[in-house]
């Protein structure tokens, strides 16, 4: 049952990425929804769940470009593990911490990814890092925190008031 829930979340986030990614992307700067779900999962479930989930999500992403099969799986595994550890040691419910964790993880993910992708061509690495990865990390963090706050609001306010009668 738990696995089914995780599967549903995965499908939902991939649908989000497929449907909204283009609309929310400016040039090449866009939110990384799969990374967000890995980060969220790792922070609240720990490093084992985080790294396994990161591997699965990364692998699914890699299926769309098999030339680099395994690269997203590797980077997201590392991010999932690190965030699982970091989540256990920080005030993970605090939006500012979450924002920082999302941003740092998105940037760290892209750094590792680009190191492999550019095959250590440093000029290209730094140009892409500064023009795509850095702004995308900030964007991803902001989108992540907005989703988090939105969902929290929905769960606490809307769901709590469901079924209440007006006095």
């Amino acid at each position: 049952m738990k696995g089914l829930g995780v599967g549903v979340v995965l499908v939902v986030f991939f649908l989000l990425q497929a449907v909204f990614s283009d609309a929310l992307t400016f040039g090449r700067i866009g939110p990384d929804f799969p990374l967000l779900i890995v980060a969220y999962f790792a922070i609240f479930r720990g490093s084992i769940a985080g790294s396994v989930f990161g591997f699965v999500v990364g692998l699914l992403q890699d299926l769309f470009n098999p030339s680099f099969l395994g690269l997203n799986a590797l980077t997201k595994t590392l991010v999932g593990f690190a965030l699982g550890r970091a989540g256990a040691q920080t005030e993970r419910d605090h939006p500012i911490f979450l924002l920082a964790l999302f941003g740092i993880s998105a940037l760290a993910h892209d750094v590792v990814y680009l190191l492999f992708y550019t095959q250590l061509r440093l000029g290209e690495f730094f140009v892409t890092l500064l023009t795509v990865a850095l702004p995308s990390a900030v964007y991803t963090a902001v989108v992540g925190i907005l989703v988090h706050v939105g969902v929290a609001f929905f769960l606490t306010e809307v769901v709590r008031n469901l079924g209440k009668t007006r006095s």
Partner: protein, 290 residues
Amino acid sequence: MSIFEIVRRHRDTTVLVVLVILSVSLMVAPQPSKFSAAQTVLDAVLYPFYSVKNYFGGLGSVRNENRELRRMVATLLHERERLVQFREERERLRRLAEFKEEQFLHLVPSEVIGRNLDRYQTTIVIDKGSADAIRERMPVLSYEGYVGRVSKVFPNSSWVQLICSRNNPVSCLDKRSRVVGVLEWIHFSNFELKHVSVVDDVAVGDTLITSGFGGVAPKGFPVAYVTKVKKQMDGVSLKVEAVTDIDFRSLEEVFVVRDLIPWDRSIVQDARDSTLIQELLGKEAAGGER
């Protein structure tokens, strides 16, 4: 301390190490196995979602687009009728002059049904595959020009590697001066035309078209235009920067060049076309009166 105890004590690190080893093994696996494994999984799991998304995403604009296309088709059909008359005369003259027989492109219209979810990669998936006689390395065009080549073919779909990929250079020539170079993607929509000498005549604003060399891209399709020309440090070559107008992220329809048909065997007009012209013109006239 036994190995099992170490694993039990450091469960998270063990999981991490196993997953990293798995990922690295996948990265170093042979390319053909990677492609076939990926396609099998994608076909089974994710294609239905893309089809649904594309279907609903396109409904909104399809009515306007259809009206506009109908108008365009009517205009083009008129123009083509005129061209058909020129063709026979032209072919007669070419035969008299003993020119090589010209060829015509056989285009297979295809819908883009997927693109990779990665911001750094540049592959699209189209809805035509080996069942439609699509083969690897076939060139792919959009309305604006040459966009890439088929990199992998499956029964009902194919992967197209776009020219905005690091390992997909295109031989191009300057439309004005006919200077030939190799166009390589740099980043975003920026390209660089390489192997251009300082004595070559390349200027800002020149259009770069496919040269037809290399046997992949057919000759004469626009790819980019020159935005900057400067002398390289070596003093003998030029650094030519170019930009494309093609928006690779929003490609919806592309055309695979399946083969080249001799000009006189290409179906330029048949009986069905004449009926279609009459129907379209009738609808146009009815639309205009309204």
